[in-house]
């Protein structure tokens, strides 16, 4: 099992690329959804104040 993850000497290269890429892809997907939610909350708070 560990050998499969080690991939000879190449595991560190392969896994570092995958971890960074998956992190960025999740961030890319989450950012617009979070921004929209934030904007919506800000707008509805402003309406309540007005």
């Amino acid at each position: 099992m560990l050998e499969a993850f080690a991939m000879g000497d190449h595991g560190v290269y392969v896994w570092s690329v995958y971890i960074v890429s998956i992190g960025f892809l999740i961030g890319l997907g989450m950012y617009p959804l979070m921004s929209l939610r934030h904007l919506k909350r800000k707008n509805s708070n402003r309406e309540e104040i007005e």
Binding site: V14, V17, S21, E47
Partner: protein, 237 residues
């Protein structure tokens, strides 16, 4: 298409594209990492290909899309074209960054060096700075119409870099291999590697389409926050 119709009609698309993209990327990545044998010459480092190739493909397609949107904006002053450019540029920056990063890491075990200053790497680095320039230029120009015009011009002028990226491996001597997948010739990659790679490329396209669409929705809401339909939407749910 009016911003309101776009905003209301695109939500289901965003969720569908996200779902299909995530499922496809999971399938292609797990297949490529665990169910494909090591490559004869490169060993296991070739598995970086399942990230590198889709990211590199997509970064160029995003730039072409931005350049086309730039033409549409300059000719017809279509606001949604500007929204597309604003939403797609940061996504293009990230995908190009991923293509560069994965290429750098792949280079070390394959070529014995992290980086070489050859035509392919330099032209992709220029693409990265073109995306960065798009974002910086939009921030630097205070009037939105002028910013959109300036960004459109930059996008169109920068499009000259796309054929340079594509043909750099044929025009110049470079360590980078020529294109392995083309529409006109038989693929140079074995089917064992090609199927998960194609799944990842298609899923990358689908997921990133969802991300750009979601980004456009956010921008539309931000730009129209004082309109009655936005206020009705924020108040209704």
């Amino acid at each position: 298409m009016s911003p309101e119709i776009f905003f209301r009609g695109s939500l289901m698309w965003v969720y569908c594209l996200y779902l299909i993209g995530i499922l496809g990327l999971s399938l292609g990545t797990i297949w490529g990492l665990f169910f494909v044998p090591p490559e004869k010459f490169q060993g296991d480092s070739f598995r970086i290909m399942f990230i590198h190739v889709p990211a590199a493909h997509l970064s160029q397609i995003i730039y072409i899309g931005i350049a086309v949107a730039g033409v549409v904006y300059i000719v017809w002053r279509t606001k949604m074209a500007d929204v597309f450019m604003a939403a797609a540029a940061p996504v293009g920056l990230i995908t190009t960054g991923l293509a560069l990063l994965s290429g750098i890491v792949w280079g070390k075990p394959t070529w014995g060096t992290w980086w070489v200053w050859d035509a392919r790497t330099i032209s992709v680095l220029i693409l990265f700075f073109l995306f960065f320039g798009q974002i910086a230029l939009r921030q630097a120009v205070s009037r939105p119409e002028r910013a959109a015009f300036a960004v459109s011009v930059l996008a169109i002028v920068g499009a000259i870099n796309i054929p340079i990226i594509k043909y750099s491996v044929e025009w110049f001597t470079t360590l980078h291999q020529p294109a392995s997948i083309t529409l006109t010739r038989e693929s140079a990659i074995s089917m064992v590697f090609l199927i998960p790679l194609l799944i990842n490329i298609a899923s990358f396209y689908i997921y990133i389409a969802g991300v750009v669409l979601a980004g456009m929705r956010t921008l539309v809401l931000r730009r129209h926050k004082h309109t009655s339909w936005v206020q009705a939407w924020t108040g209704s749910s």
